[in-house]
Symmetry: C2
Subunit: 311 residues, 2 copies
């Protein structure tokens, strides 16, 4: 049997999966990234995770034709270099060359948000759809775009950064000079920011994080409800812009903040219905991601299969 | 010799061109649209224009393998129907079926902004570029996106509407429910709106149009300069969003308002440098369209050549 290995490198966890040509996961490994160990230490952990997944799959090492790996960006998928990842503290790490040497296999790199979208488009919530827009509402906001089954890479591999589109030019400053970007409203960090602005505090003992405010909103706290209404409204503004440019057939949400469900999606839809063309909303589906924990690794495996065919 | 005919249907003019497989224009016709004649009258004028271009090319009628036509949108390129064009007063006109019958040739339809981009990408300012974003600053603001030489159509053919992306959610209302869209700042109509807001009037005898205010700005009028600064700044906001989503290799400007040049482009660049990732601006080119009057018709011809190959 022929297989590939997909790896999802995150700030918290490394997930590796041995995947066949139809998207079936034959073996998996999940372990802490331990980013404090630095690039060298994390690269060793990636190799360990890959070997563990291979072992768990019961497939011989020689059956793995290639490795796909997803990393937080910005990165250069063509040169195989992670340019910069604040979460890992990496700068200009030639991850493809290093792993190729350590594993003796072909290695392909893409940003994690695009691979999550590719996984969902392959065997998840975007299966069979022509244009798949994935929006990850996590610590930050990530985006991935799949057109006819392939990642839309733009000219240099830095497309689909939906978290950084401007939703209010007079909004709060972002670290790199921009201001009022989507991520500042509808990421976990953005929710906490809005909650602080509203003078909200989590209940005694609860952590200062988005989920605490989600629970407060679900319990009917008016200020917390308004925070999610504002976040959803801004998500609607950002999506209006995205629909006008990209005209997707399905929008797929993932990430912890998406767990707020209708708290977020109702004000989002209201804004979309007000602002978008009818032709953008006609037939457009909104779905939650299906692949959960495996999303990134399965997408990375799909990338490996596609890259092998191209080569 | 084998040729196709490209037609650019505009609110003011119809331009038809007989074009060979390399993009050479062998014959051309340009005439007033006379949209007051209604769909039937305009369709007759299109047919006349096509025959005139054919005659001017010196090529026999049988040498024309197909006709490509560009129309203002929204339209359905797959069904060949113009859904709605305020400038022409058309609603649900099955233009492809009608012209096919009148001409006895294959007919292909796309929106005019995408075809302008396709023309520039083929033999104009975007030649050889991987991802071409065209921005037409005319009465409205239109956009076209070409990826690897082909129009990015989205799921249902209503992508690349850059004029309708939200640049200020608290901005002025647009007719269809949206508000603060790019078109309201940097189109000819938008410039007049901003000028009125600033209490500006054109000099005695000059028409109330963007070009009058451009002349005032060029002559050093402070209020007029501020109008163009604001328009350029908002163009920068909208382009920041577009770069983050689309990551083009070249941005091409066309249309009358683009004639303001640095009045508009300097504040635009300032905003882009402040708001965008370095990786989006690195190597990115900004150019003016090269094909002038022929842009849409040449793009329509390219569409016809590509569609013939697919069929």
């Amino acid at each position: 049997m022929k297989t590939v290995i997909g790896v999802d490198l995150g700030g918290t966890n490394i997930v590796s999966a041995v995947v066949d040509e139809k998207g079936k996961v034959l073996g998996k490994d999940k372990r802490k990234t331990l980013s404090s160990k630095g690039a060298k230490g994390v690269l060793d952990r990636i190799v360990e995770s890959i070997h563990a997944a291979s072992h768990n799959s019961g497939q011989p090492w020689a059956s793995h034709l290639a490795v796909g790996i997803g990393s937080p960006g910005p990165l250069d998928p063509f040169k195989g270099v992670v340019i910069y990842t604040p979460n890992l503290g990496w700068k200009n790490v030639p991850i493809v060359a290093i792993l190729k040497k350590k594993l003796g296999k072909k290695v392909f790199l893409e940003n994690d948000a695009n691979l999550a979208a590719l996984g969902e488009s392959w065997i998840g919530a975007g299966k069979g759809e022509k244009v798949v827009l994935c929006v990850t509402l996590g610590t930050g906001v990530g985006g991935g775009l799949i057109v006819d089954g392939k990642i839309f890479q733009g000219a240099t591999g830095v497309s689909n950064h939906i978290g950084h589109i401007v939703v209010d030019p007079k909004g709060p400053p972002a670290p790199y000079g921009n201001s009022g970007i989507l991520e500042q409203y509808v990421s976990a960090t953005g929710i906490v920011r809005l909650a602080k602005l509203a003078g909200l505090k989590p209940p005694a003992g609860a952590p200062l994080e988005a989920h605490s405010f989600q629970l407060m909103a679900e319990a009917g706290n008016r200020k917390a409800l308004k925070v999610y209404e504002e976040a959803g409204r801004m998500l609607g503004v950002g999506l209006t812009t995205s629909l006008h440019l990209l005209n997707p057939s399905v929008v797929i949400f993932s990430g912890g903040v998406a767990g707020a469900g209708d708290l977020l999606l109702k004000p989002m839809m209201k804004e979309l219905q007000k602002r978008s063309f009818k032709s953008h909303l006609k037939g457009l589906k909104f779905r939650m991601a299906k692949l959960g924990d495996n999303m990134g690794a399965v997408g990375a495996a799909r990338l490996a299969w596609q890259s092998l065919k191209k080569a």
